[in-house]
């Protein structure tokens, strides 16, 4: 069955199994490899995208459930929230970087609904995103830096 969805402002029509997780549609069918695979079970956050603005684990979201919705991925973040991307670079957040697409998409969703998150807000919004390299302190700093820059 053909499924249509809007990814980063572009309409796509795809002929794939309804149950295909959005993660693999993005990566394998649309060539958007910025969204990462870490666990496949909603446990690590590496695959986080936004669907209609909400942070969503794309490994657990079927393409059928994403059908007709607005999806944004890390590839569009630099247009949506360039200051957040800049803060990530300026704070030199990433180590290996593999978790960071997911971290950024969760952080972007947090900042979209909470202009001045506290450390506790960040802890609860970001608890689903594992960083094995342990960049949590810098992620906090980069979120605060972005929020401050927007005041």
């Amino acid at each position: 069955m053909a499924i249509t969805m809007n990814v980063n402002g572009v309409e796509h029509s795809l002929d794939v199994d309804d149950n295909t997780p959005l993660l693999w549609v993005l990566r394998d069918h649309l060539g958007l490899s910025g969204t990462k695979f870490g666990c496949g079970r909603g446990l690590c956050g590496a695959c986080t995208v936004q669907i209609d603005g909400s942070p969503t684990r794309s490994c657990l979201t079927t393409v059928a459930a994403a059908s007709g919705r607005m999806i944004s991925t890390i590839e569009s973040l630099v247009e949506q929230q360039p200051d957040l991307v800049d803060a990530w670079v300026e704070e030199n957040v990433a180590q290996c970087g593999y978790c960071q697409s997911g971290q950024l998409m969760s952080a972007a969703a947090l900042l979209a609904t909470n202009a001045a998150p506290t450390d506790e807000d960040i802890d609860s919004a970001m608890a689903g995103n594992i960083c094995r390299c342990g960049t949590y302190g810098r992620i906090r700093k980069a979120i605060h830096r972005t929020a401050e820059g927007r005041q």
Partner: protein, 731 residues
């Protein structure tokens, strides 16, 4: 933080012109462990830097980038000696080739081993550019100098850019002993630089193992044998798969007999046109597996055997005085047993590799820590000639030692050979945890008797753990190796006139490998908690007690000879401990409901002291603050060193707080992040790091921050009233 940024232009289509100035250098490297570092311990010419006629300087990073910032650090070193403009430097990733010298990115030694060769490369290029300018101006080279990406002749106010000079310089001889800059003139080394890939990472443009797609590439999803040593006997493919046009087939791989090494394990590969098709079918396969001698392996039983081992005398590695009879005859001794479990690397990026076999040659793109070992392993497993095997590392989405072992690459090569098309092997998290090369579990037993002044007069320490050698070398090599014991045991800084240091090994029924900091993790744990226990017995402050033990001591000798210039100096250990004492406010009044714990450890030739502060009112003893002091000698990227210490605290907390793996009937009992518990954002404390200003030789940075974390936490929990916790995980 505001630090200069370097755009990573490596994805721009940049070509070094044929007349580009290319500078060779010489790399002499030593192996991480002498016993099985099999690759490139030779003197060989290597190529690290090229200057194009467009002025772009290309630095070739021959070490793998896994988050430790090596691409950036290598560029800083070269750029400094070259006097290049940071904005005009691009960093290329080298493929595996012996001409670069050792590429085994492991053991925290990229800068340690290549600081001088990289400086030589940069300095040689600078001297060649100066020579070219001097010749074109008809002046003496000694009257010219390089800075800001150009050569200048002050007397005549002439300047020429590196780009203008590249062609002429490229035909000059490479100076063999170029003059290196003096330390006070360094303008990149020791400074903070944002990682060269930072922007690519933050925009989703960084390329990891699974991110490359080749034309006509198939995807292989692996179902590995539940027990090490089993092979598939029979595979039933679901009916539904047979009509699926995106399903290509299944392939079986048998367990390799003999030593485990880096060989693939028994598996069934589901080959499909895309990842999800492979996953869907893999989950529906019915497979029967052959028996394996490992199917009775049980981690609880194994731990019990380790406990028994430390109750017996072990192989004696160090004996002075008469510890045994003194302890056996003592009225009172202090004894403690410390235990640590199996751990997994669990890098965020599960193993993944692309192989393209065409007739008798193969190209591999994969997140590997050592592209040369990967090449050699492929040559050993297949009938390719070395020159027909090309291995290029992608970025590594974390590795921590896991991706030193190219078993997953061999799967891709084998499958591509059979299918005659490019194949990407994609492991899932379940594969990754199931078939890690695990961090060894351990049991240590310490026993001491104290003299009148509270200091030890007799001391016996025993360790038991499965040696890495039993997996990577030969199954009958069960005794711990000297280099494993020199990770915090035979080179312990806690010495006594009557002392016995003993070790025992046991073979496990799963693969054992090196994980970030290796045996230092458990040895630093045992030693630092035991010292706190002795301090308590002596009625002394734990820091004072350590300092008292080191009174009058100079150099620690382990089982292996020290590398020249890298002696283990008590003075440096004392220094980081005294600094962390001040930084953490150790002697000040602590906020109500908080407690501090300390640990200090020497590893990878560096010195780290850590104080953790815990919330005593939290039943899980959440860590609120961490103070770390690192002395790694001369460092290159200050901010990277800080970041590595921050990351090490979090990595250490994962192992200290909750992470533990268990095995029953030969099979792992945790298969994803719901069973294997990694520190998350709320676990991450606020961390302050001090780097010791030092002109000692560069030493390790990536690993030495981890070992003090678990003992500092145990010691903090004790001081918070949580009792003495001698077994990891702690909460």
């Amino acid at each position: 933080m505001n630090t200069p940024q370097l755009r990573n232009l490596s994805r721009r289509n940049f070509l070094v012109s044929s007349s580009a100035l290319v500078v060779g250098s010489y790399a002499y490297t030593t192996g991480f462990n002498p016993a099985f570092a099999n690759t490139t311990r030779t003197l060989s010419p290597s190529v690290y830097v090229a200057v194009g006629s467009d002025g772009i300087v290309t630095v070739t990073c021959h070490r793998s980038e896994m988050g430790q910032g090596i691409k950036t650090a290598v560029a800083q070193v070269v750029c400094d000696e070259l006097e290049a403009d940071w904005e005009q430097v691009v960093v290329a990733q080298a493929e595996g080739d012996a001409k670069y010298g050792d590429q085994n990115t492991d053991g925290s030694r990229s800068i340690k081993n290549f600081f001088v060769p990289l400086r030589n490369a940069g300095a040689a290029a600078r001297e060649m550019l100066i020579q070219a300018a001097a010749e074109s101006w008809g002046v003496a080279a000694s009257e010219c100098e390089a800075h800001d990406h150009a050569v200048h002749h002050k007397a005549s106010s002439r300047s020429a850019s590196f780009g203008e000079l590249a062609d002429a310089a490229s035909v000059l001889d490479v100076p063999e002993t170029p003059t290196l800059k003096s330390r006070e003139n360094w303008n990149h080394i020791g400074k903070s630089r944002v990682h060269v890939d930072a922007k690519d990472v933050a925009t989703g443009n960084a390329t990891y193992g699974a991110d490359v797609t080749l034309p006509n590439m198939a995807v292989a999803i692996m179902v590995h044998a539940p027990v090490l040593g089993s092979s598939p006997i029979d595979v039933k493919v679901p009916e539904s798969a047979k009509n699926d046009l995106r399903f290509i087939g299944v392939e079986t791989i048998n367990a390799t007999p003999g030593p485990i090494g880096f060989n693939p394990v028994g598996s069934v590969a589901v080959i499909a046109e895309d990842t999800y098709t492979g996953i869907k079918i893999a989950d529906e396969l019915e497979i029967s597996w052959s028996d394996s001698p490992n199917q009775s392996f049980d981690s609880e039983v194994f731990q019990e055997k380790l406990r028994e081992a430390v109750e017996q005398p072990g192989q004696v590695w160090h004996a002075v005085g008469d510890a045994n009879s003194m302890l056996d005859g003592a009225e009172e001794t202090i004894e403690a047993v410390y235990e640590t479990p199996f751990l997994s690397h669990a890098p965020m990026e599960p193993p993944s590799a692309i192989a393209k076999v065409v007739e008798d040659s193969v190209e591999v793109l994969a997140p590997v820590q050592d592209p040369q070992t990967t090449r050699n392993t492929i040559v050993g497993a297949q009938s390719f000639a070395l020159e027909n095997v090309k291995v290029t590392p992608t970025l590594l989405g974390g590795a921590f030692g896991r991706k030193s072992k190219p078993d997953f690459v061999l799967e891709a090569v084998e499958l591509s050979k059979r299918l005659k098309r490019p194949v990407r092997v994609q492991w899932r998290r379940e594969n990754d945890l199931q078939y890690d090369y695990f961090h060894a579990p351990s049991v240590q037993r310490y026993e001491a008797s104290l003299g009148e002044n509270g200091m030890p007069i007799a001391w016996r320490q025993r360790t038991a753990f499965p040696s890495i050698m039993s997996t990577v070398a030969a199954p009958n090599m069960v005794e711990p190796a000297n280099w494993e014991l020199d990770m915090g045991f035979t080179n312990t800084p806690y010495r006594c006139d009557n002392q016995s240091i003993e070790a025992a090994g046991l073979k496990a029924g799963v693969r054992i490998g090196w994980l970030r900091s290796v045996c230092n993790i458990f040895h630093a744990f045992g030693a630092n908690v035991f010292i706190d226990e002795l301090a308590e017995q002596a009625g002394m402050d734990p820091i004072d007690y350590r300092l008292a033990m080191w009174d009058g001591m100079d150099v620690i000798q382990g089982a292996l000879p020290s590398e020249p210039g890298h002696e283990f100096k008590i003075e440096r250990l004392r220094n980081v401990l005294q600094k962390v004492r001040v930084n953490s406010g150790w002697d000040q009044k602590i906020a109500d409901g908080r407690a501090l714990g300390v640990a200090v450890h020497h590893s990878f030739l560096s010195y780290v002291a850590t104080v953790l502060e815990v919330d005593a009112s939290d039943p899980n003893y959440r860590v609120t603050n961490a103070h770390v002091v690192l002395d790694c000698g001369t460092y290159v990227n200050a901010d990277t060193c800080v970041a590595q210490m921050e990351g090490a605290v979090v990595f250490g907390l994962s192992g200290a707080q909750r992470a533990k793996l268990t095995f029953k009937d030969g099979a792992i009992q945790q298969n994803n992040f719901d069973g294997y518990l990694i520190a998350r954002m709320p676990d991450g404390p606020s961390i302050s790091v001090e780097l010791v200003d030092s002109d000692h030789l560069p030493a390790g940075v990536g690993e030495p921050g981890v070992p003090p974390v678990a003992p500092a936490l145990s010691n903090a929990i004790y001081r918070a009233g949580g009792g003495r916790r001698r077994s990891l995980p702690l909460v």
